[in-house]
């Protein structure tokens, strides 16, 4: 195979791996919007918190898998009171809730800045193994990311489509008032969804930490991408999110060989605008009139 083709393949695989991480994060965002109707502007910062915690705990715990289990617990403990005490009071007032999440975003970023510092750091590679694949060296850790992400996505799918509680969540996405009228304790569903969505973002952060620069601002760029994914896929649509995440990230990955990062981001953005002009609710979003 020619060098150029190999290069594109490499970028494509990298893009898909990154796409899996973005899929996790975007899925969390989409769930939170689908069930709670909230545009969570602090979602990217929960990703950042996951990465920062992963970075900080890894030397402490010595084991990457342990970090992967401990961080979600910590983040759940942060997210639950956040929903209960900051977001729940503004139920129904979507603009106000969204501004509240902006406030939270500032707080999280500054807290990370104060505690972790302003300098971006690189995390140690948890699985410093290299594979030879079609004549290219490929980092073992990226396969780990892919494997873990796929497992998590499959678990989420099972949860949402095969367990009673998952059915409750999906029912609440479809029609919250109806779910409530059928005796579902909507408050529990709200907290559970928010925690689940936030944990997904944080896990994405832990997985991403070894392959990216960990800094207190890293949430901004990822949030932008997650929002684009969710808009293209359709807010509240889980399949749409997955398709859009994988599609966009592999596209962006491949474009990296001819365009600069900013240019490929701008190109993705143009794709989004084009889709919106034709389908204002995204590819899989709810029907119009």
């Amino acid at each position: 195979m020619s060098d150029w083709l190999l290069n594109v393949l490499f970028l494509l695989i990298n893009g898909l791996v990154w796409g899996l991480i973005i899929a996790l994060i975007s899925l969390g965002l989409s769930l939170i919007f689908g069930v709670m109707g909230i545009v969570n502007m602090a979602h990217g910062d929960l990703y950042m918190v996951g990465a920062v915690l992963g970075f900080s705990l890894f030397p402490f715990l010595g084991n990457f898998w342990l970090a992967l289990l401990v961080v979600p617990v910590i983040v759940a403990l942060i997210a639950a009171p956040m929903e209960r005490f900051i977001l729940r009071p503004y139920e129904g007032y979507h603009a106000v809730t969204m501004i509240a999440t902006v406030g939270i975003s500032f707080i999280l970023q500054q807290a990370a800045l104060a505690w972790y510092g302003g300098v971006p750091k690189k995390m140690v590679d948890p699985w410093p193994v290299t594979f030879h694949f079609l004549g290219v060296d490929y980092a073992g850790y990226r396969f780990l990311i892919a494997a873990v992400s796929i497992v998590i996505l499959a678990a989420i799918w099972l949860f949402l489509y095969r367990t009673p509680y998952g059915v409750l969540i999906r029912a609440s996405i479809q029609d919250r008032d109806m779910a409530s009228a059928m005796g579902i304790d909507v408050n529990k569903v709200l907290i559970a969804t928010f925690v689940l969505g936030s944990v997904l973002a944080a896990v994405g952060g832990v997985l991403a930490a070894p392959v990216t620069q960990v800094s207190y601002l890293m949430g901004n760029d990822v949030a932008l991408l997650a929002f684009i994914v969710v808009i293209i896929g359709g807010l509240g649509s889980l399949e749409g999110t997955l398709v859009a995440a994988l599609g966009l990230c592999s596209l962006e990955g491949v474009m990296a060989c001819i365009l600069s990062p900013t240019q490929s981001r701008a190109a993705i953005f143009v794709v989004m605008v084009a889709i919106l002009m034709v389908r204002p609710r995204g590819l899989f979003g709810g029907a119009e009139r």
């Binding site: 106000v96 501004i99 808009i231």
Partner: protein
């Protein structure tokens, strides 16, 4: 007019600004110039959020475009002050129409997200295209003097700068007040109150939402142009998300839909920023907490609260 009427507050504020310009020391005067510029921005944003219930998180686009429109006109076209101001506002209006056409048709949540996305992309581009924008370092210019009938003035004279900005604040307010009293104002409010119903009264709601959006963005770019001319500087930072969030906070604090209320928000937040950032590095942390506290206390904002108590 009734004693407790928002026009009363606005005219009082303008008179107050006029007097303060003469008696304040230089440092405080600079701060007040900034407050007045932010009042223009806030008032413009109120047309979007307060009058037609469109929560845009992308107004930093227009602030940045306004500033760069003015600065680049001076740098590349050797334009005068008034021309560059017009250039800033004009560019802002052009982008407003483009962004508005894409976004105004979107439902509430999509509108918020997409305006935020567009603004983030502008920020990225501004930081990347350093040959044009100077990136984060920005561009500095010297502002030429401008001629009015009978006299030549320079913005480098603090008093000239001050009353130049005050003039546009007052002019912008009078324009908006006129529009709010016109049929368009009633249509805006009806859209805010019940958008769907307005369609059944024969109105193409999207057209009016676009008008509100463009009007609001135009004032945002006026503010940006004034800011650029006052600081003699523009940077990619003007496109950052922070500048999109500020107008929302100004309006929520000061009073949505009241036009003059957001001025209070801009004044208070400027004071807060000025004094707190001096002794606390993590000033934004307090800003975040303040936002949460403000939301908790009152959704109607300060002026909204006063007007409600005192009748319209």
């Amino acid at each position: 007019m009734a004693l407790v009427d928002r026009r009363f507050f606005a005219l009082l504020a303008i008179a107050l600004f006029a007097v303060l310009g003469l008696i304040l020391p230089q440092g405080a005067r600079s701060l007040v110039i900034q407050m007045m510029i932010f009042s223009v921005f806030a008032m413009g944003y109120d047309v979007c959020l307060g009058l037609t219930n469109q929560c845009s998180l992308g107004h930093s686009i227009f602030f940045g475009v306004g500033a760069y429109g003015a600065i680049l006109a001076i740098v590349h076209l050797k334009a005068g002050v008034l021309t560059s101001l017009a250039g800033g506002v004009g560019s802002g209006l052009v982008f407003a129409v483009l962004v508005g056409i894409v976004c105004v048709r979107l439902s509430e949540a999509y509108f918020v997200i997409v305006t935020a996305i567009i603004s983030a992309v502008f920020h990225l581009l501004a930081m990347d295209l350093t040959w044009l924008t100077g990136g984060d370092d920005g561009l500095s210019v010297s502002v030429p003097p401008f001629a009015l009938p009978g006299v030549t003035l320079s913005l480098y004279q603090p008093l000239v700068n001050y009353y130049f900005v005050l003039f546009f604040l007052a002019a912008a307010y009078l324009l908006l007040e006129r529009i709010v009293r016109a049929p368009l104002g009633k249509i805006f409010v009806s859209i805010r109150e019940n958008e769907k119903r307005v369609r059944f009264l024969g109105y193409d709601v999207l057209r009016y939402k676009l008008i509100a959006f463009v009007l609001s963005a135009g004032l945002g770019s006026l503010a940006g142009a004034l800011y650029g001319l006052t600081l003699r500087y523009a940077s990619a930072d003007y496109f950052s998300f922070y500048w999109s969030v500020l107008p929302v906070v100004w309006c929520l604090v000061g009073g949505l839909g009241t036009l003059a209320g957001p001025w209070i928000g801009a004044v208070l937040m400027s004071l807060f920023q000025y004094y707190v950032s001096a002794w606390f590095t993590y000033y934004l942390l307090l800003f975040g907490i303040l936002v949460l506290v403000i939301l908790k206390v009152s959704r109607k904002g300060i002026l909204g609260y006063i007007l409600e108590r005192g009748g319209r």
